[in-house]
Symmetry: none
Subunit: 227 residues, 2 copies
Amino acid sequence: MITKVLYVEDEPSLAQIVSESLVSRGFDVKVATDGLLALDIILKETFDICVLDIMLPNIDGYSLAEKIVEKHPHTPIIFLTAKTQPRDVIKGFDSGGRDYLRKPFSMEELIVRIKNLLSHSSPQPTEPRQYQLGSWIYYPSSYELSRNSITHPLSERESRILHMLCKHSNDTCSRKDILMEIWGDDSFYNSRNLDVYINKLRKLFSTEKSIEIMTLKGVGYIFKIRN
Amino acid sequence: MITKVLYVEDEPSLAQIVSESLVSRGFDVKVATDGLLALDIILKETFDICVLDIMLPNIDGYSLAEKIVEKHPHTPIIFLTAKTQPRDVIKGFDSGGRDYLRKPFSMEELIVRIKNLLSHSSPQPTEPRQYQLGSWIYYPSSYELSRNSITHPLSERESRILHMLCKHSNDTCSRKDILMEIWGDDSFYNSRNLDVYINKLRKLFSTEKSIEIMTLKGVGYIFKIRN
DNA sequence: TTGATTTAAGGTTAATAAAGGTTAATTGGG
DNA sequence: CCCAATTAACCTTTATTAACCTTAAATCAA
């Protein structure tokens, strides 16, 4: 498989030479020349690895790294920068970087470090397009459940909550995380809103012996799927 | 858990200062001053991470790295060396290194790179997924006990306390540790809360002759499992 | 030294508080 | 008006606190 690299560097001549060099070695490189542009790209596309300069227009590399980790925790990030102080290196690792290479650098070294990270980073767990939930099949993208060629549409809330439970099936899914993810706010903590949806989902799966939404009081839920 | 570091460096003054610095940060450091000695050590002991100089008496760091990878493929290796040429770096990664730091280096940077490798390459010591407790089987991840195909769900508190007892079965488990682990606070020391749960667990296992939660007054509990 | 007494640690049970469940009514945007 | 989303009212379960009891180690008296 071809490796997709996001390379963020604001100095055009450097950007071009490094990018060409990576392409010539078989990488599929996307170059962004400023932080805000890079942010747009990472929200839309996924990459196998990101190579970031730190001093960038609009958003610095550290903040960019944090955003990347937030969205794709398994994508390794290498900083490539003229900042050579230990505290910069530490900041780089703290913001989620997995390697830090000082300018000037050798292209050979960059390549070998990229390969090192790629070969030792856990492969991105690819998100399934559908989930087998007992006798139902759940399609998150179309907000529906189907069984024996009949489909049951889910509302937006129902589907997003179910999707979140599916992504963490057989593992704890905290009430707070669900509230933050679905409503972007956990001051809902006292509201019964989430409970209403859990109740709906439980009713939906009430006939499925292998499916259970278990409550962990004070913590959250476990969506149990037995085989 | 304390992190065991093997540090191989033939220059005594550097070896001492780096080793002291690692120890002061809570690492358990073993220093070897030549390659052959280091080889002996890695054949007998296991480490969480190895930090290697390259130019060493008897066996060079690259060969040592290869030996380490052969025996413990998951133990990350950092090279720490005065050799600064790109081809040396490449050789380092080729021989199984996972990072390469040039001398002179900052102690802070070494620490942060060690932590980075440890946090991204830990094949966690696999913990049992189930425990045989008399005629019950306990599944910590699903918060349930099962016996003869009937399952008994445990509440969050019940399960976490039982899990902790299981992890230390036939060994003392201090009251304070349980309070800290479950409630994150041992000012509960005077509260009867933990006792209430111990009481529930005892009732659960009251019919099991081979299981006993024994009290060590002023200390804690021993969860005895006889075979 | 020995047996009684004190006392701190833990055990037991019930009551209370907090978190969550359920159902129905209300809200608010197409 | 319709329907998903939310709020409200009330119910159930689990966690915590309270009150009182038991036990065993430590202290004390003879």
